[in-house]
């Protein structure tokens, strides 16, 4: 099955980078959606099917924490795992993202392997 991914990051170049690394994971990626901040991401989530969300923390308009809180509050998105993708956050910051409902974390820059590992974990992809 191809996974539809939503990338939430305020840097357009970063979104391209992440998209490229996604392509290198060897995973089957379907739709690749992008949002510049949390609010835009919520809009997209309202109208498009998404299997997994990759989100930055520091963003204008609506940052990652607020975004997570919104996602958690929405009953329809319970089954959509969120992976935090951030440059160098302090442990507490990541912990807080996790307590808000994030399922995974990868530190930028990341390799396709580590991204794949994390995605497979949160998507509960069975090997074999």
């Amino acid at each position: 099955m191809a996974y539809d991914v939503l990338i939430v990051d305020d840097s357009p170049a970063m979104r391209s980078f992440i998209g490229r690394v996604l392509g290198l994971t060897g995973m089957e990626i379907g739709e690749r959606l992008e949002a510049g901040h949390g609010r835009e991401a919520l809009e997209i989530l309202g109208r498009s099917w998404v299997d997994v969300i990759l989100t930055d923390i520091n963003m204008p308009v609506m940052n990652g924490e607020e975004f997570l809180a919104h996602v958690a509050a929405r009953g329809d998105l319970k089954a959509v795992p969120v992976v935090v993708v951030s440059t160098d956050s302090t442990g507490t910051r990541v912990e807080r993202m996790m307590s808000l409902g994030a399922k995974g974390y990868v530190k930028k820059p990341f390799s396709p392997e580590s991204l794949r590992e994390e995605l497979e974990r949160v998507l509960e992809v069975s090997h074999g």
């Binding site: 391209s16 440059t87 910051r93 390799s111």
Partner: protein, 684 residues
């Protein structure tokens, strides 16, 4: 990442080898950094090891055994190597694949440059108001983003530098570091380095041998030292409650970091919702770029300028084709209401398409202003002349090429203002002026063109000095008493400089003539107003776009010529009484009590005119490069907006011709370059 660790481990190792007690303090500092950094990374063992080394080192020097400490340090080094192996540039790793992709690298360069522009603007805001949280936050975020991107591409120099700057800015955000002029200087310098790196990378993309990244280590050390000086110094500037500071210092810095977020979020809030039209003008300067960025980011698409230019060209052709169809006599002969209605609709749509296409090439003049702001800051410090810059009309839209081409002349004029116009502080105070000079940049739209004014409150132009120099150089005859305006215009003469001493800033006598030439090239004009003791205003009048010209279509014989309308002062049929021949100067005409040279256009282009008799022809009084002259033509045909077409390589540099245009009736006309037309005249 690895590079910083290595540098610090090496420095501690060096201090161990030296075995000096005096060096313990910096070593302890480096170890404290390692401890904290390892904590942030979640490398608990490394953090503990660093702590143990530091503890051992802090004990009485008599217990220091070089061997044990060095061994401990080696252990630390190996642990760090293992821990960073994940993000080390191992061969064949995919991140390299990213850096191999010109598209991604191009995205990176583009985005970094955007960040650099906003960084510079925000820094200048901080320079004026050090306690501007939005500006500081925005700079921090920009460096953070650049760091993240460079990390993916493994541009280590850029990444390390951005990381260090980010660290410093983070301290400032948490009120642990005061924003001083030195901090701003070093951050500006870092931005300059990034700018230079972007140019290098871009050259690499274009296929040039890009070479290695410029050395960054010295700069990194300087950025790091900002932290050290601030820690050593007492912090009277900080208004933060003491517990916040101690909290952050004692390692729970995380609290301070996250604490900054809710604070920053409302600060960014005004920029976030649907941009309200009233807001931008009223906001402080720092908020405006942020608002623009936030609203522009979501809906913008990047387009190659070449594609855009081609589109504009084609739109120009379409407008002409449309007007040819509309004016087609056969179609008009049909007298069909339906055809007329459809043609009207067509022309309305083409007009709209043309306007939209033009608008795509437009950009706010503010970007140019902010470059000048940087210059004013640098120069006023260098010359020890405090100066404040006032900007207005930054949102005024103007053709991209004009903005680009105007940068050098603007910089030059401002440099001149600061160097020659603005008095030294003592002289200002003696003259009853404020210590800090004021320079204003204003941009306004006026019918069909844009007006940019550069004003200073300096000493004004020295009429007598300029005139004396001009007489000395034979530019003005002894008997002639020129008007103020004529005198001021003399500073645009080639090689004219009244600076008593040549400074390294300006005064070599190159420049103002180049300024005028550049402005003329953009089909603009420049005027000076000056009042002794009060200051000087340079006024630049520029067209809104370079793709279209408002022209006066004139005829000579069977040919059509287009005179740029901004240069036209008046038009009339001369009477025989106005004409005279002055020895050595050729034909002259008396126009409003001034004797102006006459240029017969038919002689310039060797066409047979309808009449050789001046009194049966038409005179167009044109001004170019500060000189007026009469252009003799057969007839006036009309006023028309024409799309400028290049004549192609073969006919590029014909003196007197700026380009070609297809007129409404489908005929071709040459657009005159008046400077060239007049220049030919003086040579003849």
């Amino acid at each position: 990442m690895r590079r910083e660790w290595e540098a610090r481990i090496d420095s501690v190792a060096a201090q161990f080898v030296l075995g000096e007690a005096a060096t313990v303090a910096p070593a302890a500092e480096a170890l404290a950094w390692m401890r904290q950094e390892a904590g942030r990374e979640g490398w608990e063992e490394i953090a503990r090891l660093a702590a143990r080394i530091a503890e051992r080192m802090a004990s009485s020097p008599q217990w220091h055994t070089e061997g044990a400490l060095a061994e401990g340090l080696d252990k630390l080094r190996r642990a760090v190597e293992a821990a960073t192996a994940g993000d080390a540039p191992a061969a064949g790793k995919p991140p390299n694949e990213l850096a191999q992709d010109p598209g991604l690298v191009g995205d990176f360069i583009l985005e970094t440059r955007e960040h650099l522009i906003s960084i510079e603007n925000d820094l200048l805001t901080l320079d004026r108001e050090p306690s501007q949280p939005e500006a500081l936050h925005s700079i921090f975020r920009s460096f953070h983003t650049v760091k993240g991107l460079a990390g993916f591409l493994e541009f280590d120099a850029v990444r390390s530098l951005a990381h260090e700057v980010e660290t410093i800015l983070d301290l400032a955000r948490n009120q642990q570091l005061a924003i001083t002029a030195t901090v701003i200087d070093v951050v500006l310098e870092s931005a300059d380095y990034l700018k230079q790196e972007m140019n290098r990378l871009e050259a690499g993309l274009a296929g040039a041998a890009a070479g290695e990244a410029a050395a960054v280590d010295a700069l990194i050390v300087r950025v790091q030292s900002l932290n050290r000086t601030s820690v050593a110094a007492p912090q009277p500037v900080l208004a933060a409650p003491p517990e916040a500071v101690t909290d952050a210092v004692t390692g729970t810095a995380t609290e301070a970091v996250t604490g900054a977020v809710p604070e920053a979020a409302p600060a960014a809030a005004p920029a976030t919702p649907e941009p309200s039209p009233a807001a931008p003008g009223a906001q402080p300067p720092a908020a405006a770029p942020a608002a623009v960025q936030a609203s522009a980011e979501k809906f913008s698409v990047r387009v190659d300028t070449q594609k855009l230019d081609h589109l504009l060209d084609m739109v120009g052709e379409m407008v002409i084709a449309q007007s040819m169809v509309r004016q087609d006599p056969e179609l008009a002969g049909l007298r069909s209401p339906r055809v007329t209605r459809n043609l009207t609709q067509l022309s309305r749509v083409t007009d709209e398409v043309q306007k939209t296409a033009m608008a795509m090439r437009m950009m706010p003049v503010g970007q140019l202003f902010h470059r000048v702001a940087r210059l004013v800051r640098d120069l006023s410090r260098k010359m020890n002349k405090p100066a404040g810059l006032e900007l207005s009309g930054e949102d005024t839209q103007i053709d991209k090429t004009i903005v680009e081409e105007l940068a050098d002349p603007m910089m030059h004029m401002v440099r001149n203002s600061l160097d020659h116009g603005i008095e030294p502080v003592a002289a200002r105070l003696a003259a009853g002026k404020s210590e800090s000079a004021r320079i204003s940049l204003r941009a306004t739209h006026q019918a069909g063109h844009i007006l940019i004014e550069i004003e200073d409150d300096g000493r004004g132009l020295d009429r007598d000095k300029i005139l004396a120099k001009a007489r000395g150089r034979g530019l003005v005859g002894e008997g002639h008493t020129p008007s103020d305006n004529e005198v001021y215009n003399l500073i645009f003469e080639p090689g004219f400089s009244t600076a008593a001493a040549v400074t390294d800033v300006s005064g070599r006598g190159v420049g103002m003539d180049v300024v005028r030439r550049q402005v003329a090239k953009l089909r603009g004009r420049i005027d000076i107003h000056s009042e002794p003791g009060k200051g000087t205003v340079f006024q630049l009048k520029l067209p809104l776009t370079l793709a279209i010209i408002d022209g006066l279509v004139v005829g000579v014989g069977g040919e059509r010529y287009i005179v740029p309308i901004f240069a036209v002062q008046e038009m009339f049929r001369p009477t025989p009484g106005m004409l005279s021949s002055v020895k050595g100067q050729g034909e002259m005409a008396m126009v409003r009590n001034r004797l102006l040279p006459v240029v017969r256009l038919h002689n310039r282009f060797s066409v047979t005119p309808r009449t050789q008799e001046a009194s049966e022809s038409l005179f167009v009084v044109a001004e170019t490069g500060g000189r007026r002259f009469c252009l003799m033509v057969d007839e006036f045909i009309g006023k028309q907006e024409v799309v400028i077409k290049s004549l192609g390589e073969g006919m590029k540099n014909i003196p007197g011709v700026a380009g070609g245009a297809i007129l409404g009736d489908g005929r071709v006309g040459l657009i005159l370059d008046l400077e060239g037309v007049y220049g030919e005249h003086t040579l003849a």
